[in-house]
Symmetry: D2
Subunit: 151 residues, 4 copies
């Protein structure tokens, strides 16, 4: 098995498909998240700091951290799927390593294994302040491919 | 080990402490979540359906589902802690079992094991439509107790 | 969704199919584990205490605890599958709640959700001493059904 | 946060402490596992193929795969601890990515974050045949440090 991630950008068709799906995710817009990078097998999503995404101590809420991590992994998987398919999260596990602070946080979803039915992604979330990046969460996610015609 | 959950309601002091903390979680208010039940070792949080919490197919986003599950577990742990302590999520794992649909979803956090340092909670999320409850997610969470004076 | 677990015993055909598969698991025999209960959607596996299954402090090794938990969940899923299918573990997560001590430990795998492709099980492991049962580990497992003809 | 892993070998004192603990793990000897690399924040454990460690299809059993992954992570954490401490697994999650086949499997535990109380490790297991290494499992583990005097 090899990492499915290459450095070249995704094709315009894939980028457009992902951006369109992302814009239908009401939660991402409501939180203020945006996709900042799409490559085959890898997607980055950024979330700026603001009071609406905090927990009780003023850090990013684990729910916000997880939400963009989950979406980043889902779209990373989706970059490798054919048209007329969809992706659903089966499960994920996330460790919160440090208080999630910074001007924004950035989630990176990376495909570790892309199978016919199941895809496994690594999830990482960084707190970004000035140019310093701190790993604040790391996780692992399982996704399932669904043929749109079956939905 | 026994389930730390009893049926009697939590004390007014505990309820007030949890409600005050919850109101400082900007994310919960922004999503529209509210605490609907507080008992020793068990907290329920409800989230009404609206476009701001959806994924691309119109169901509740896994990130929203997870966010209220994480908070429900955290506050369930918190009901068993002394004053002058705080709780942080170490990690959690969640399986999305079915599309999260309904008028609202309700997360139930239940303490499975409350230790001196670590607490383990079960997380369940139900989709609620009319009076029908469907289990849409199930998870497991580890939390750590922090003395507020140490923070 | 309902728990797929009923109290009646599994059919003789199912029991025979599971026992035969279990006996092909070299690891289970090598550890000294045996199936002690098979019901639709639920399987129990017991592992007696002996030096060959310990960690450095003399308790059951987390690897032994996990091994029988994983098998118990896999066979619980398998009880609900048709013939000519097989089951593979996709992933699992386990919390070690207490030192695993006792005359034997007993893993209980219970199907939470049985889908066409994926099954989700709850895993519990108890330490048993005299008639006292202590929950020593709790987990959650995802499995995939494979048609034997596809293997 | 930086990866706590360096390339230099661990000190003789640390290596001796880990080897001694490993030899007290009855399960590791019973399975036939051995430590093959100890560096600060990283430990490798190998397990040769033989019928005693298989599942029903003749591959390495997920329980055997997990057992050496869990031990590799635990000892990786332990390399960074002071004397008179001990390490316990709090929880782990593992994805089985491919059938675990080969002359032997090798688990690599790597410390991602080493805190005062908790340590988080990445777990990887490779199937090794001739000189080809295939990633067969990937996981994430949380451990707690215990002062030996407290035990």
């Amino acid at each position: 098995m090899e990492h499915q991630t290459q450095q070249e950008p995704a094709s315009p068709e894939v980028r457009a498909r992902i951006q369109a799906s992302f814009e239908r995710q009401g939660l991402m817009g409501h939180l203020g998240a945006r996709i900042v990078h799409i490559a085959p097998g890898r997607v980055h999503i950024a979330l700026p700091s603001r009071p609406e995404v905090t927990q009780q101590h003023g850090y990013f809420h684990a729910g916000a951290t997880s939400a963009i991590a989950d979406s980043a992994g889902g779209y990373a998987a989706f970059t490798l799927f054919p048209e007329d398919t969809s992706v659903l999260t089966v499960e994920y596990k996330i460790n919160l390593l440090a208080p999630a602070a910074g001007e924004h946080i950035e989630a990176v979803g990376t495909v570790l294994k892309s199978g016919r039915t199941l895809t496994v992604c690594q999830l990482e979330v960084f707190g970004v302040q000035d140019d310093r990046r701190t790993l604040v969460a790391t996780g692992q996610q399982t996704l399932i491919r669904v043929n749109t015609s079956e939905r």
